[in-house]
């Protein structure tokens, strides 16, 4: 049970990340590969302020959000000049820059040593230190972000974002402030990724830059492609599949000599099969 709870917490964290990425990629059609950067900034902000200054987890969330807004605003301004593949390349560049900063700004981040002993959150003096309590907290966060996604999706703002996704020029001609709308959704998405980062740091209790490399962005991208672009349910199901499949394969009883490699092959094959039979992803509403 404890193992499932642990898996459940990671599922909630990655579900939040997938929802936030789907806001940018699925809803707005911006090919962002820089999400690991915001995930990392949120995680490090929480880790640093909690371990260095003894700040409460929820205050650290706020600090992480402010930093992410500032970074996302600057980056969003630059990114708004690009589209399609160029947007993906520049946003991947952001992930690489942030990774390099986390690795090399040793006075602040301790570099490759990472930060360990990150405390668990506490609410009204009550420590959320058991896995079950942390799971409840993560589930609440996931539910809130899920509801927010659905709300935006159904709102007029969400419809504008979809219009931008389909034809940005036409949306601009129709009088929608496309640039501003893209910046706002990018900021919101960055803040949510930061919240996931804070949960991750507090749960694992140890972070180092290796988690926040560009391949983490690609992993998140895979989640939403498998689950389905522009789909809130797809984001959740995608996270569930990509996190639980490798764990399920641990119990298949493969011989130790080849287990790790076979697990990777089966995992890869399963993903290919999904893409062959469901090219829009499992719950996808739109194909990139």
């Amino acid at each position: 049970m404890e193992y499932l709870i642990n898996l459940g917490i990671l599922f909630c964290i990655y579900g939040v990340l997938a929802l936030s990425l789907n806001m940018v990629v699925g809803m707005t059609g911006l090919l962002s590969l820089g999400h690991a950067a915001f995930f990392g900034i949120g995680a490090y902000a929480t880790a640093i302020v909690m371990t260095e200054f003894g700040v409460n987890f929820f205050v650290s969330l706020l600090i992480g959000a402010i930093i992410n807004i500032a970074v996302a605003y600057l980056v969003g301004k630059i990114l708004s000049r690009f589209r399609g593949g160029y947007y993906a390349i520049v946003s991947a560049g952001l992930a690489i820059i942030v990774y390099s900063l986390l690795l090399n700004w040793k006075d602040l981040t301790t570099g490759p040593l990472g930060i360990f002993g990150i405390p668990k959150p506490s609410l009204f003096g009550m420590a959320i230190d058991s896995n079950s309590a942390f799971f409840v907290l993560s589930l609440i966060v996931l539910a809130l972000i899920f509801a927010l996604y659905r709300y935006i999706d159904k709102s007029s703002y969400g419809r504008c974002l979809k219009a931008i996704r389909e034809d940005e020029q036409l949306a601009t001609v129709m009088g929608y402030p496309a640039q501003r709308m893209k910046t706002v959704i990018f900021l919101l998405s960055a803040v949510i990724a930061g919240i996931a980062g804070a949960l991750f740091a507090s749960y694992i209790a140890f972070i180092d830059p290796s988690t926040f490399q560009v391949h983490e962005s690609i992993f998140l991208f895979t989640i939403i492609i498998i689950g389905g672009l522009a789909s809130s349910v797809g984001s959740i199901v995608g996270a569930l599949i990509l996190l639980s499949l490798p764990e399920i394969l641990r119990f298949v009883g493969l011989p130790y000599e080849t287990a790790a490699q076979l697990q990777q092959i089966i995992y890869g094959l399963a993903l290919i099969l999904i893409m062959v039979y469901k090219p829009r992803g499992l719950f996808g509403k739109y194909r990139m």
């Binding site: 690795l103 040593l113 990472g114 694992i204 140890f206 180092d208 290796s210 790790a260 990777q264």
Partner: protein, 356 residues
């Protein structure tokens, strides 16, 4: 398709049925290795060493317990390590577990504290790992290696050194230990970091050449370290090179002819034959074999008939010991849980290691 699935299921059930059964009480050991990802070439030999050590323990008729091993892949990722540690403690209910590298060790050590499970970490950076009496680290320790490196430089009359390090945990700890000693010995030093993902080192090598220091301490992982090694070899700088443990995982030892390796004991040919190593890199497999054998000896020595296994007693027993002999050499056991072999200096000549 159906036939294919049936044959896979049949093969899997055969694997399951072929496991040895024993009347002896069982000790379960979990081993977490980076079997996929960047470090998989280093972990392959360790897996073989672990399986051989378990086999050796179970074929010893004097042993009171039957030993079972659960090997899991953590891909060197903290979130995977968290899941593996959770699986070991809550599903497999192992008596002891083994982790590889200090960053993974930090995650496992919190589980060892919580579940009172014995934890053995194979790594030499120890910050955050030895947090309670249930956590041990079996290798050469970083302080000892750092001292040996600095002493080597002093004894060989080196007045200046370039520290050419990959930007990762171990390098940070090496620098932290080396800096005060180099200052104490009046050895001038330059630090040059490179990233594991970098592939072009022309500018870096140029800087190193310009510094023209008497020695170069090179620390990195494959393939990066061999790209640098090749450049240093081409520029006739290789005989200035000292490596802390790097030779354990390089793909071509001939690149380093003339260099020195200072650190843990390298696996002997006899040991490689024993664990049936073919082309795999033997990196640290002798230490992994020793860790399993040491866990076995700890449980055997604390065995009391008809008494449930008590990990607290086993941990106390380990801490009460002074030393232990393994295939990697004689281990000294410290009160903080560090179980270390002496540092050995090797010179690399004609693709072979010679003890100095």
């Amino acid at each position: 398709m159906k036939k294919f699935l049936v044959s896979i299921l049949a093969a899997l059930s055969l694997v399951a049925c072929s496991e040895e059964k024993s009347d002896k009480p069982v000790i379960k050991i979990g081993v977490s290795l980076p079997l996929s990802g960047n470090m998989q070439s280093v972990a392959a030999a360790s897996r073989k060493a672990v399986q051989t050590a378990i086999k050796d323990a179970n074929t010893n008729p004097d042993n009171h317990y039957h030993y079972e091993v659960v090997i899991e892949d953590d891909a060197m990722q903290p979130q995977k390590a968290q899941l593996v540690a959770n699986k070991f403690t809550t599903l497999d209910k192992v008596n002891a577990f083994v982790s590889f590298t200090s960053s993974q060790g930090r995650i496992f050590s919190s589980f060892a504290d919580k579940y009172e499970t014995l934890h053995f970490n194979c790594a030499f950076g120890n910050e955050g790992v030895l947090t309670s009496k249930y956590n041990f680290q079996m290798f050469t320790q970083i302080d000892t290696e750092v001292k040996a490196l600095a002493d080597f430089l002093k004894d060989n009359n080196k007045k200046s050194v370039t520290l050419l390090f990959v930007n990762r945990v171990t390098s940070e700890e090496l620098v932290k230990g080396l800096e005060p000693l180099l200052k104490k010995y009046n050895i001038k030093y330059n630090i040059e970091y490179f990233n594991q993902t970098d592939r072009d080192f022309a500018l870096l090598i140029e800087r190193v050449k310009k510094q023209n220091n008497d020695a170069i301490v090179l620390y990195g992982l494959e393939p990066t370290v061999s790209i640098i090694g090749k450049s240093l070899y081409a520029d006739n700088l290789i005989d200035r090179v000292l490596m802390p443990d790097v030779i354990q995982f390089v793909s071509d030892i001939n690149l380093y002819n003339g260099a020195y390796n200072i650190g843990s004991a390298v696996a002997t040919d006899e040991f490689k034959k024993h664990i049936n190593l073919d082309k795999e890199n033997p990196a640290f497999s002798n230490y992994m074999y020793d860790i399993i054998s040491f866990i076995v000896s700890a449980y055997e020595n604390t065995y009391t008939p008809d008494t449930p296994i008590n990990n607290s007693d086993v941990a106390d027993y380990v801490l009460s010991q002074k030393n232990w002999d393994g295939v990697a050499g004689k281990y000294n056991i410290s009160e903080n849980g560090a179980i270390e072999t002496d540092v050995i200096s090797y010179k690399i000549e004609n693709g072979k290691l010679t003890k100095k």
